[in-house]
């Protein structure tokens, strides 16, 4: 039995924000963006961490329904699996907008163009190594944003017939696992020219692995544009050379904007916003604003 939305047409008082994994700086930047914007609106933000567990996110949505929040910005662990829970929220009169990852049944979504991010990063990688050579791909957990990036990379690869993939492994999206996996991959393949990593923590882990195995002349690229990546790019002899930067704050702020409009009964021109990513290299590092 859906809860009546008691303050229909009124002000937004409570905003629920659900992210996949708060321990990733990307999501905490998003959280900061949403909180700032909410403060300006005089609304309160309640954040929940999905811990990569769809079951937990289901439970959290049920709790949000109990709390009678007005707006839900959701970054689901899984786009489709969250569908029924989103529907429950809608039935309870909550406005739901998906951020960063699409969510089934959500009224609108805004995400980075992950395919484009993969394209950007890999294009840079292939050019830097002269259009030919052997590369490693360090993949992550099987979620759509990650897979889109790999897809983008593979799309570009069609234009570079002399690029060979020497190894393709999964690194759990984090630094430590990437370090272990990359160390082993570099041992198995001594003549590698570059690495594409699906996000910055993975890229930086691979970078550590390269340093520790004494590998030189490697080009490593990632996706994110995180503060740690920025810092590493600033280091002129690092093998980590580029990242396709996302704008988590913007995703959050714009997502909230879309939600506010929907909440107030306005029509959105674009219910599906894709935000382009921007390639950051050592050359344009100074102009990059970063996540802070």
């Amino acid at each position: 039995s859906p809860v009546e939305n008691t303050d229909d047409g009124g002000e937004i008082e409570t905003i629920g924000l659900m992210v996949q994994d708060l321990s990733n700086p990307f999501f905490s930047a998003m959280q900061a963006g949403v909180e700032n914007a909410a403060e300006d609106m005089g609304a309160e933000v309640v954040t929940e961490d999905g811990r990569q567990d769809l079951g937990a996110q289901n439970e959290q949505i049920d709790a949000f329904i109990q709390q009678q929040i007005d707006v839900l910005l959701i970054n689901p662990v899984d786009s489709e699996g969250i569908g029924p829970a989103v529907q429950r929220a809608l039935d309870a009169g909550i406005t739901v907008v998906a951020v960063d990852v699409t969510a089934k049944n959500a009224e609108a979504f805004i995400t980075s163009d992950n395919v484009q991010a993969g394209r950007l990063a890999c294009e840079h990688l292939f050019e830097s190594i002269g259009g030919e050579g052997r590369i490693l791909i360090i993949d992550g957990t099987p979620i759509s944003s990650v897979q889109d990036r790999v897809q983008g990379c593979e799309e570009v690869m069609k234009d570079y017939p002399d690029i060979k993939v020497a190894g393709h492994q999964h690194g759990d999206n984090n630094r430590e696992e990437a370090l272990t996996v990359a160390t082993d991959m570099l041992t198995a393949n001594s003549d590698v020219d570059g690495i594409f990593a699906i996000n910055d923590p993975t890229a930086l882990g691979a970078n550590l692995a390269a340093e520790q195995t004494g590998t030189e002349d490697l080009v490593i690229v990632g996706v994110d544009g995180s503060p740690a990546a920025e810092k590493e790019l600033g280091n002129s002899d690092s093998m980590f050379q580029a990242t396709a930067a996302q704008a988590p704050k913007q995703l959050g702020v714009q997502g909230l904007d879309m939600a506010t409009k929907l909440f107030n009964g306005e029509q959105l021109e674009d219910k599906k916003r894709l935000v382009e990513t921007e390639l950051i290299t050592r050359d344009n590092l100074d102009e990059y604003e970063g996540w802070e």
Partner: protein
């Protein structure tokens, strides 16, 4: 664990005066606290949450708690039987994922809903059979066999779905997750049914007695003509079937087969069993108390969410409360000592 088992062994004899008359002064009490101590913890927690958490006692929320706890509770029910025989099943979380996926795969391949549900459960039972056979007939340690199961079943779940969630918008058995029976959510009804059946099995069937006997003294059970190995196998089959049912409910609830479903659920299930006072040394415990254990965990999760406690603090509080709950429950041993 050492200390606890000793406490158990020193349980007083209520009436052992056949040969020498019972000695004066031997305390003959505490059976109430023994049985209901952990229920007291649950009640305490509910009262606390009702005061602290807004909407906690609302009609809907009561069902939210029960529904959210149902998957863990169903896993814990099967786990109780396993632990009663001195075993453990670490593979239930991964098994849940595989079974959930299988049920969705059956649906997308055009099977009727009933077949999908039964198919999911059957696959869970089958993997339980595999673990149980290795444990009982090859005498391998349950911990390692099911830790292996945790790993290869997760791989199987990824393989079956190619790592992608398997979407089924038109899932025929979606009511298994979101339906209601007489106003009660279906997962809750199923949970209660599982507990009722297993309560009956443990209490009123020969199989149940055999489980306790094996947990209490496997050698004695063997000499009494009980088929110890076969009984153990059946227990793992039941735990697997419970994981299968939980997987079907999970899939129905998220209308898709998720390869990452159920990660670390095995530890929650074991926690519910042990919170309920079932001994990891086997032979002592029952499913009623496991249900209470699972509810304590569910109430805690839900209450902390409703109170908007930040996630980091939720973890700290949860960890502390688990320890506290067994500490309170163990007070009974102190009075004895």
């Amino acid at each position: 664990m050492t200390e606890t088992s000793r406490a158990d062994e020193s349980a007083p004899a209520a009436d052992a005066g056949a040969i020498a008359p019972p000695r004066a002064g031997r305390p003959r009490f505490a059976s109430l606290w023994d049985r209901y101590g952990i229920l007291g913890v649950l009640v305490l927690m509910i009262v606390l949450m009702a005061v602290l958490a807004p909407n906690f006692l609302s009609f809907d929320n009561v069902f939210n708690v029960a529904r959210a706890a149902s998957i863990n509770a169903i896993l814990a029910a099967g786990m109780t039987l396993v632990i009663l025989t001195r075993g453990i099943d670490l593979s239930v979380g991964s098994n849940l994922a595989v079974c959930g996926i299988v049920s969705v795969l059956l649906w997308t391949s055009g099977m009727p809903a009933a077949v999908c549900i039964l198919g999911g459960i059957a696959v869970g039972a089958l993997f339980g059979l595999l673990s149980g056979a290795l444990i009982a007939y090859l005498a391998l340690p349950a911990f390692i066999v099911t830790l292996g199961g945790l790993t290869y079943l997760r791989g199987t779940a990824y393989l079956l779905t190619d790592g992608q969630p398997l979407i089924a918008d038109d899932l025929g058995f979606r009511l298994m997750g979101s339906g209601f029976v007489a106003g009660v959510p279906v997962p809750v009804v199923l949970m209660l049914a599982v507990f009722a059946v297993l309560w009956f099995v443990l209490r009123h069937t020969r199989f149940g007695t055999q489980i306790y006997a094996i947990g209490g003294n496997p050698e004695a059970a063997r000499l009494a003509g009980i088929k110890v190995k076969w009984t153990i196998v059946r227990v793992y089959v039941i735990a697997g079937a419970c994981a299968g049912l939980a997987g079907v409910i999970f899939s129905a609830r998220v209308m898709s087969g998720q390869p990452t479903a159920g990660e670390t659920y095995e530890l929650d299930a074991i926690a519910a069993v042990v919170l309920g006072g079932t001994s990891l040394m086997g032979g002592i415990g029952n499913v009623q108390r496991t249900l209470i254990g699972a509810m304590i965990m569910g109430v805690l999760s839900n209450g902390l969410l409703l109170m908007n406690v930040p996630y980091f603090y939720q973890l700290i509080i949860k960890g502390a409360v688990i320890v506290l709950a067994v500490a309170i429950d163990s007070l009974k041993n102190w009075k004895r000592a």
